[in-house]
Amino acid sequence: MSINTEEMILNMGPQHPSTHGVFRLKLHVNGETITKAEPVMGYLHRGSEKLAEGFIYTQFIPYTDRLDYMNAMTNNYIYCAGVEKLLDWEIPERAEYLRIITMELNRIASHQLWWGTYLLDIGALSPFLYALRDRETVLDRLNEISGARMTFNYMRIGGVKWDAPDGWIEKVKESVKVLRENIAEYDELVTGNEIFQARTMNVGTLTKEQVINWGLSGPIARGSGVDIDIRKTEPYSIYDRFDFEVPVETKGDAYARYKVRIAELHQSLNIIEQACEQIPAEGDIIHKKGARIMMIKPPAAEAYTRAEASKGEIGVYVVSNGKTKPYRVKLRRPSFVNVSILQDMLVGESIQNVVAIFGSLDVVLGEVDA
């Protein structure tokens, strides 16, 4: 006797609590096993790249905030750095340090929020609130220097917009101490938990080959034993001056990615500490021309610039034709590339793992849809 079974199509999203935005996963399910997964995106598409072509160079900076709104500082940076590369400007020392400190603070905030929401996906409530408590410390610091909590619009072509207020560096040093203690709590509360380990170990395993072939980057790549961190392999800004490690795990499962991110929190704190020690007490915070001219005119040229965001490799390809508006700005958004692996890695998994896998990729939809 044969039983006639029907394939069920399960729509996860666009309105679903665990897709972290408007993302839709069309799952073809046989029983509880997924036979095919189709990610559908674009619900949040704002045409950022098209908008860039209509603005003068500086005007586009706030729009980069809205890509990965959890890690806006690096987005600001990469766009500015891309244009600076065309201009061949030297960035003032103090500005470089401020950039590093704010970017690393933002990376911490981003990872903390990921930690909280991932645990929320897994079904634990409290970590989310602990993460938000600690993120508040970071956001306060960023707020004090940039005037915003999430979409900073802080970097400028040639430097940064605001100098650090009095005593800010000291405050950051204090915060680092506080954060160190708080982040140690994360391990106590979650990392050793058996249910958590059972849900993440050997779930969503990615091999080294898969990672490279699918162009995955950031903690996902490092969780699978691919030792790429652009801060190390191709030190941009002044990352070569700091002593930090690139945490790498080899297992490639969700738990490995979790461990990488937690370890990265500590490394970011190390970088901030060193930067706070080294930062020159005073100096320019923006390139002389950058401060003076609104209408920046890079020479006709094009270049690809990349940096390490909290989600992976963020890049920008800027084409200039010597006018005041960019001819073309292409944004390489890490989440957009990282999310593509879903169609491959979800096949054969059970529905109960979808959330644990999807969450472990740390995807931000603002960035996917641009």
Partner: protein, 319 residues
């Protein structure tokens, strides 16, 4: 006259339960709130005392929505069917030496038998909603509750063997006679009972049927307004019932130092169980279905069986 007392007792219990559920919810939110570094509800009334009342009012006044594609009759019956058994089992609970609804000599059996019917409500609700998430939630819920019913019952059997009675009052009186609570001789059973009770109640970390991060809201995704309130009510009433059962079986029911009346001891012990569940909810992530099933069948049932064997041997050996 007899009928009148019966009805009176039922009404009083219902009223008390509604109040208890109201404040159990507040208690839960406050406990979890403090554990999560926030004050919990504090806008309605002093210390947020009227928060749940306001929530219930909101639920009752909401528009009653029945999805077009739903199976209407079943959809309507489901919440009722989930609630009624969870309420009916309170008939046999012995609150104190004198306060008891029906002094059944098969009290434990009645309790377990009736409480299983709640599952039907879950299944019907999930099925009739005509929603894939509801259906998945209901399937998970039924599978889970049925699997964990077995270790739950098996763990109770240890107590029953020791006491030699299914009557709640006699179970407590037995504990009085031997001078200790059954949690000590039946510690293994207590552990099994506690774990399976959490799964029975669909509470965290085993709250898979309503795992909001995966299944939106599980079997009651499509329910709103007072029907949803019914499901919530059933869930909490059942939680209270299970903690009452645990109190009776393992913590000596109303027994306690004489400076407090027995019923207060009973309620305090129940509160302890409730608190324990809330504490777990604030701490643990959610388990996965297959782990949960494996744990139930491969660990809890053998443990419960082992407990029965040991208890039986002790019983025979002690005469």
């Amino acid at each position: 006259m007899d009928l009148l007392t019966m009805i009176l007792y039922a009404v009083i219990i219902l009223g008390a339960l509604l109040g208890a559920v109201t404040y159990a919810i507040l208690f839960e939110r406050k406990v979890i709130g403090y554990m999560q570094l926030r004050p919990g509800p504090n806008r309605h009334g002093p210390w947020g005392l009227f928060q749940t009342i306001a929530d219930v009012m909101k639920l009752l006044m909401k528009e009653d929505i029945i999805p077009t594609a739903a199976d209407k009759k079943i959809f309507i019956i489901a919440p009722v069917l989930a609630f009624v058994p969870s309420f009916a089992i309170f008939a046999t609970i012995a609150w104190s030496e004198n306060i008891v609804g029906a002094d059944l000599n098969i009290g434990v059996l009645y309790f377990i038998g009736i409480s299983s019917i709640t599952t039907l409500g879950v299944l019907m609700g999930g099925w009739s909603s005509n929603n894939k998430y509801s259906l998945l939630g209901a399937i998970r819920g039924v599978a889970q509750v049925i699997s964990y019913e077995i270790p739950l019952v098996l763990s109770i059997i240890g107590v029953v063997i020791l006491v030699g009675s299914l009557n709640f009052r006699e179970i407590v009186l037995y504990q009085e006679s031997i001078g200790m609570w059954l949690i000590i001789p039946q510690f293994l059973a207590f552990i099994v009972y506690m774990i399976s009770a959490i799964a029975e109640l669909n509470r965290s970390p085993f709250d898979l049927p309503e795992a909001e991060s995966e299944l939106v809201s599980g079997y009651h995704t499509e329910y709103s307004g007072f029907r949803f309130a019914f499901f919530m009510l059933a869930e909490y009433v059942y939680a209270i019932a299970i903690s009452a059962l645990a109190t009776t079986l393992f913590l000596g029911g109303w027994l306690g130092p004489a400076f407090l009346p027995g019923i207060l001891w009973f309620l305090l012990k129940m509160c302890f169980f409730m608190f324990f569940w809330f504490w777990l909810r604030a701490t643990l992530p959610r388990a996965r279905v297959d782990h949960l099933m494996g744990f139930g069948w491969k660990v809890l049932i053998p443990l419960a069986l082992l407990n029965i064997v040991i208890t039986a041997i002790i019983k025979v050996w002690m005469g």
